[in-house]
Amino acid sequence: MSEIDLQVKLGNLTLKNPVLLASGTVGYGNEISQFTDLSKIGAIITKSVSLKPRKGNPPQRIVETASGMLNAIGLANVGLEVFVKEKIPFLKEIQSTIICNIAASSIEEYVECTKVLDHEDEIKGFEINVSCPNVKEGGLEFGNNLTAVGKITEKVRAVTNKPIIIKLSPNVARISEFAKVAKDEGADAVSAINTLVGTAFDIWTGKPKIYNVTGGLSGPAIKPVALAKVLEISRNVDIPIIGVGGIMNWKDAVEFMIAGATAIQIGTVNFINPQAGIEIIEGLKNYCKQKEITSLAEIIASYKLPS
């Protein structure tokens, strides 16, 4: 049989394989590159960058929960200027496709960041984070407001021809409505899902375990929720979906593709197994061989639902 083709398309962005590293879980690439060969990865999505640097939340920022973790990092990042000056040069070297994730607390800020980064050849696309649960302004205020998500997509679309991915929040009633508005306003794809709002308490002190009180839940605990959200979008809106939430291995990745994802992102697993991306790519190849298929397109949205 011929070599398996893992190539996927997200709008006019072609990726050598469908395995992406999720925003906020690989920094800007430098640290994880000591443990894995990033040039083999489909794409790297940078930590959310905002116009100005953000300090982030005080400790404690993370806590482990049953099969998952809560984080309230608070979008700590170096800010646009330092990102361009200091982080992009390294990202150039690693020879992977770079997608820049942008977070903002106003529509103008999203537009401003996109404009500046549009000039950077190394950045092949944008993921617009309208769904961070851990900051006061922006974040979820946008993420569960249909009009805001539509407006942001429209305004960002107006200033770049590069692919735009809208990263959706699961903390809404009907995620497919948000995917629809993103599509209507010109987004090339959607990512589903960002983290779910959660909390945890210390039973001896009565205090929340995270300084921010609530955090975003990620890891295997959220996989069934993420899968259901991907399926909902897939059944209702014709737009490429990047599935994300609790993927630990290639089997999880296949499951997301069956549910409708064209590509997948891995987040929390990078903290535990920095090689996970490469292992998933190998696993997908073997799966295709065993299923005797030559292209992943055959499994995307191949779900068989009761009629």
């Binding site: 879980t25 443990f35 300090k55 982030g56 939340n57 993370i62 984080n71 295997p220 920095p274």
Partner: protein, 252 residues
């Protein structure tokens, strides 16, 4: 830095609840410096999900040692490992103590399992400088002198050594313990480090603190382990910028 599969060679009980694990880890053993740490995948499945950070306690040839007390699921699993078991370990991580400078006395101050990094530091410094170790524990079952030199003990209940905290012990003897060429190397619970930070400032002595924080990745990608800088309005990362900081560098 590597994700190395290490092999358990022995697991010894030092105290009712405190263990010392020796494991074959040629790569980490050849790279590690005192007070660097490793992030250990305690199980080979997804439970518990996150790795657990532990200081490298000692190095002998190809082998590294970890010292830990059992208090949660992760340390319980580690305490049940058998000789020959493989464990996935990321390391060495962080930066260690800074002893490549002129000084003539290392004053080690450790609280509880904060003694863990010091057998290795002691081994590295033993022929170079005078070493004095002050260690504190809740009671005599929490006192571990393994690999240390010139040890004085403080226990909260007085069941061994001085009755009181290790800081009380230090304060009571500071004239004889501290001179111009002394560096304090310390590791332990945050309240202890905080008190020591104040002590170091008041007594004008160089002090390096090995800090702790909940961690996910251990190598700088999750931003989960902040400690506030004392010189700039920003957070440093315990895993990458630390775990050792000069006591003047951070706000605890």
């Amino acid at each position: 830095m590597i994700n190395e599969k290490i092999i358990v060679q022995s697991l010894e009980k030092l105290q009712p609840n405190i263990y010392l694990m020796k494991a074959k880890a040629p790569v980490i053993a050849s790279q590690v410096k005192p007070s660097q740490f490793c992030n250990i995948k305690v199980s080979d499945n997804d439970f518990p999900l996150l790795r657990r950070p532990f200081s490298v306690c000692d190095v002998q040839g190809d082998s590294i040692f970890f010292m830990f007390d059992v208090h949660g699921e992760g340390t319980r699993i580690l305490s049940e490992k058998m000789i020959g078991d493989e464990i996935e370990v990321l390391g060495p991580l962080g930066n260690g103590f800074n002893y490549n400078k002129k000084f003539n006395k290392a004053l080690i101050i450790a609280g509880g399992l904060g003694v863990a990094p010091f057998p290795f530091l002691t081994k590295v410094l033993i022929d170079k400088v005078e070493i004095v170790s002050l260690i504190g524990g809740r009671n005599k079952n929490y006192v571990v002198k393994y690999g240390l030199k010139n040890v004085s003990v403080a226990t909260d209940d007085g069941s061994e050594g001085y009755k009181g905290t290790v800081l009380d012990l230090l304060e009571a003897n500071k004239e004889s313990l501290i001179d111009d060429g002394t560096i304090i190397f310390s590791c332990g619970p945050t309240p202890m480090l905080k008190a020591l930070q104040k002590f170091a400032e008041q007594n004008n002595v160089e002090c390096q603190l090995s800090t702790e924080c909940a961690m996910a990745c251990g190598f700088g990608i999750c931003q989960g382990c902040p400690v506030h800088s004392s010189t700039e309005d920003k957070y440093l990362l315990v895993c990458k910028d630390g775990p050792v900081f000069d006591s003047k560098e951070i706000v605890l």
